[in-house]
Symmetry: C2
Subunit: 313 residues, 2 copies
């Protein structure tokens, strides 16, 4: 068998995961950098290149299809990270060019949600689907859209930012400068905010004993697991709002299915059931077929690495 390899890099605000992926989509070796320790893009790139050389030292260069990178605020067309709000390295970082200079492989850069979406299409539950979308829930909300089997990049490479579609006009202030963005209601911090809003109605909740600065999505998920009424109401409210956002997204591209991934989804059915109920209630009647809400079938830590790597095939 003519084995080929690719490198997939998943850049997050905390970690940079670098994986060597074989031709069947398995991460066969991996390493990690601490993204937040870097202020200088050149030093960061140098360490990425060093890690790649180490991972590939036993492989013939012609067996390597390239380096795929999923990064926050990354632009597929320019290959740059553009003003990422959650990195210590500021401004425009021409990542593709900088890595390309030091390596003989092709380098592809896309945003992290797009990389995850591509991973789902090539190796995950979206295999064979030509039309689907993915929402990645975490600190913020990212999204990736596939139409006719292709990732949607748009005119400038920055398509798929549905976490910043305004769900509640004049709603909660968002870091982007707008008010009422989806991610203020359904990201991990959005879930905490939903909980605080409901808290006065549930004085007996165990969550009332947590100060704000100790409350996370995990705290609320744990409370829901032991039947706490406030925690359950929080997911009910969050699911209701996210369900509307998913129904809205369907009016755009009428996908076959919608995938969800990320920390908040780990809460399980207490969150998923309200999402599905609200989605079904709000889905426009002309879409009179099931549009399943599915969880990513790939391991959270691997999906962006796999997707980024697959972009080089």
């Amino acid at each position: 068998m003519n084995q080929i390899y690719s490198l997939g890099i998943d850049i997050g605000g905390t970690n940079t995961d670098i994986g060597l992926v074989n031709g069947t989509g398995t991460v066969i070796s991996r390493t990690n950098l601490k993204t937040f320790q870097y202020n200088d893009p050149q030093l960061y790139v140098n360490d990425i290149v060093k890690a790649i050389k180490e991972l590939t030292k036993d492989i013939l260069p012609e067996k390597i299809t390239g380096v795929g990178i999923g990064a926050p605020a990354a632009n597929y067309y320019t290959g740059s990270i553009e003003n990422a709000t959650n990195l210590n390295m500021k401004g425009i970082i021409p990542l593709r060019t900088m890595i390309q200079e030091q390596l003989p492989f092709q380098v592809v850069v896309t945003n992290d949600a797009n990389a995850a979406t591509y991973g789902e299409m090539i190796y995950g539950g979206a295999q064979g689907m030509k039309h689907f979308m993915m929402f990645t829930l975490g600190t913020g909300i990212g999204s990736g859209i596939v139409i006719d089997g292709n990732l949607v990049y748009g005119y400038d490479g920055l398509a798929g930012e549905m976490g910043h579609a305004i769900l509640i006009p004049e709603g909660r202030p968002c870091g982007c400068g707008n008010k009422g963005c989806l991610e203020k209601y359904a990201s991990s911090s959005g879930i905490v905010a939903n909980c605080l809003e409901l808290m006065p109605q549930y004085p007996d909740s165990i969550l009332t004993s947590y100060p704000y600065n100790e409350m996370t999505g995990k705290t609320i998920a744990d409370a829901a697991k032991v039947g706490d009424a406030l925690a359950i109401a929080t997911y009910e409210r969050t699911g209701y709002l996210l369900g509307i956002a998913l129904a809205n997204a369907v009016t755009f591209s009428s996908p076959e299915a919608i995938f969800l991934m990320g920390g908040p989804i780990q809460a399980g059915d207490v969150f998923l059931d309200p999402i599905k109920r609200s989605f079904l209630k709000h889905k426009l009647f002309i879409y009179d077929r099931e549009i399943p809400i599915l969880l990513s079938s790939l391991h959270e830590n691997d999906v962006a690495i796999l997707g980024a790597a697959a972009l080089t095939r």
Copy 2:
């Protein structure tokens, strides 16, 4: 020159406009049926076929590329009109098959907004654009989306229904069964509703002398032209809301430009200026380029005919 011809049909609730289009995109002859007079799809199709035969009687069949049809609630994949709410002919109408049976040309069916969008791309202001979207404002709001130079149809042929994206959760009841759809705020009836909502604040407005059943978008546009404060505030409010919806749409596919067409747009700058202001205010900061809001450059009566005809090329 090897002249070719196509037929374009624009089906609306009131009129069915049938046009013969030449190779350079001019409607060279046309005829009209009254859609609302038909309850029986077969009689309707028979009259369409009769009209087509009349329009093409002097043209060799091999010079005709086909018949393109833009219709409400039409599905590109199935070629059917599916449960159109504004036609007297109910249920599923397999329009493509029914016309195909009686004519030797290929028949293409798509929804009216998609036909207009395609017309704009082939003959109008979107020529050369690979990524744009169009919103058609009228009794309702339709939309068409072009990505990578292709109309987006989605999994089932029903993509591009952004008039039914929910703008105000739990807002005004919509005919679709949901509440708060964009079209309840920015269609012609939505504009009237916005006006009524603001009316008690403007007791001196000339519009206070109109009963509801005599008020139309035109009434309000005329009042705005003579400086009526309520009319101006109505467009300000409508533009504000539509601007949010356009900014939301950008987070999906990051288009090069957005086109608007339809009756309400005829109000002019009193409507367009607030749309543009709100769009600019709400456009996500990462799209740090101008995304122009443009008016369709084609004649309102022709654009869907031209677009439908072009679909057969």
